[in-house]
């Protein structure tokens, strides 16, 4: 089930439905340094930002087929910062010529009682992982280079093992629904990262 389209701002001034444009790729560990150098040159000049996040993915299985998925993310490096809850819709199938994956995206902040709340609501945690890496920005474009790790001992975010020998590289933009100008900019930025990384739109359903 999909989230209902948010066309009118809720009275409490909650969230506006945004579209996320996404391009993904990966880079091997040994090539990480050169990628970081290149990104530091290409992106806005700011202090290099690293992050360490713990993401939990919650599922709500309704009577129909598709379960409803919510992602809850908390920072391991800043434990007091609020949780971040995100809903990502199905990728829009439309324009085959569009270069990026487009999907509906709703983001909210949440307090630290979020896991309890989701459990009470009936969600069940499906999987979790730890993502550590670097984040860069160029205008509205956001580049995240992260190492995903599997959590071995439940609840223990220290005890993790990397999922693969590569870092995941994601280029994303959040735009309000309706604007469609970003995919060209994303494509030209992705060109500048070749041949280190090939950023492309990867349909997750293909790998199910």
């Amino acid at each position: 089930m999909e989230a209902p389209p948010v066309s009118v701002l809720p009275i409490t001034g909650g969230t506006i439905s945004m579209m996320e444009y996404l391009l993904q790729g990966s880079v091997l560990d040994q090539a990480l340094e050169s990628l970081l150098h290149r990104l530091r040159g290409l992106c806005d000049n700011m202090e290099p930002e690293t992050f360490a996040d713990h993401e939990l993915v919650y599922l709500l299985k309704g009577q129909q087929g598709n379960p409803f998925l919510l992602r809850a993310r908390r920072s391991l490096s800043h434990p007091t910062v609020p949780w971040h809850l995100r809903y990502l819709g199905q990728p829009e199938v439309g324009d085959k010529s569009r270069h990026a994956l487009v999907r509906n995206c709703v983001d909210v902040a949440a307090s630290h009682s979020l896991p309890d709340f989701l459990n009470e609501m009936g969600f069940r945690m499906d999987h979790e992982f730890v993502a550590k890496g670097h984040i860069f920005r160029k205008g509205v474009l956001k580049v995240v280079v992260s190492k995903l790790s599997r959590i071995l001992v439940p609840e223990n975010t220290e005890n993790t093992e990397p999922l693969s020998l590569s870092y995941l590289v994601e280029l994303s933009v959040l735009v309000p629904a309706g604007q469609d100008t970003m995919s060209e900019d994303m494509r030209s930025f992705a060109e500048q990262l070749k041949p280190l990384v090939h950023l492309e739109k990867i349909d997750p359903k293909r790998h199910m």
Partner: protein, 268 residues
């Protein structure tokens, strides 16, 4: 004849002045950018500036090499009048950089020989060159020429199967693995490789102090949480810990909720 030469000289000096003026403007804006906007400056735009500068230097060189340009080396500039007074005309011409045409600025501006340091270095280099003798010098020249032509050839003719060595080296350096890309995208997209529901074996010590836990089936079954979820007895302190367990966790919560709802809070 002389008039023609003079006219040529004038024309070439004019064009040289305008080219140098362009170059000065580009340098000026580049320095300004470097000093004031360095936070927003990106490497491609720095490269663009350098490319622009090099293009302009190229045009100046071409202009000087042009056949119509008379040889400037044969011209001599002699200062006719030096005065320590401020000269307004000169100041206006040079944008306030040379207000006085005096004895101090003449050695710098009308210099024809290189700077003293540069002269020293050149002397050292020519002494060195004279020292090594003509045959050695010739051999060095040939080696350099060979290296340059090799490099040029390699750059101009990319051939993938030239050498087993070079091909192997190129193959050893791919910077990304498409299989990894797919695995990572699948993991982030829907938890492939992450949500392993291991059969609930011995429970991790210290996690649950809630008494016996019925090990339910290892499959993720649908959990209908009716009224029982509100009264999760004994789950209070345990709940935040429970969510950390992937795989084991769904099974445990299911069984716990079952345990809770089987207690029928209203039937006390």
């Amino acid at each position: 004849m002389q008039q023609r030469e003079e006219k040529l000289l004038d024309a070439s000096v004019e064009s040289l002045i305008s080219r140098v003026g362009h170059l000065k403007n580009v340098l000026h804006s580049f320095i300004y950018k470097l000093e004031n906007e360095y936070e927003r400056l990106t490497w491609p735009s720095v490269l663009d500036n350098f490319a622009l500068l090099s293009g302009q230097l190229n045009t100046i060189n071409k202009l000087l090499r042009n056949e119509k340009t008379p040889s400037f080396r044969q011209q001599i500039i002699i200062p006719l009048l030096l005065s320590p007074d401020r000269d307004e005309e000169l100041a206006k011409l040079t944008e306030q950089r040379v207000p006085v045409f005096s004895h101090e600025i003449v050695p710098d501006h009308l210099r024809t020989k290189p700077d003293p340091e540069v002269e020293e270095q050149e002397k050292q280099l020519s002494a060195e060159a004279a020292r090594i003798g003509p045959e050695v010098a010739q051999k060095q020249i040939q080696t350099l020429n060979k290296l340059c032509s090799n490099l040029l050839e390699k750059l101009n003719n990319p051939r993938d199967d030239r050498d087993a060595d070079s091909a192997a080296i190129r193959q050893n350096k791919p910077s990304f693995n498409p299989a990894d890309t797919n695995a990572l995208v699948a993991a982030v997209g829907f938890g492939k490789g992450l949500s392993k529901c291991r059969p609930p074996g011995p429970v991790a010590p210290g996690h649950t102090g809630q008494g016996p836990i019925m090990s339910g089936g290892p499959t993720l079954q649908q959990v209908t949480i009716g009224g029982g979820s509100g009264q999760q007895q004994g789950m209070g302190p345990g709940a935040p810990q429970q969510q950390g367990q992937p795989g084991k966790m769904p099974c445990n919560i299911k069984t716990n909720i079952k345990a809770a709802s089987s207690m029928h809070p209203y039937n006390r």
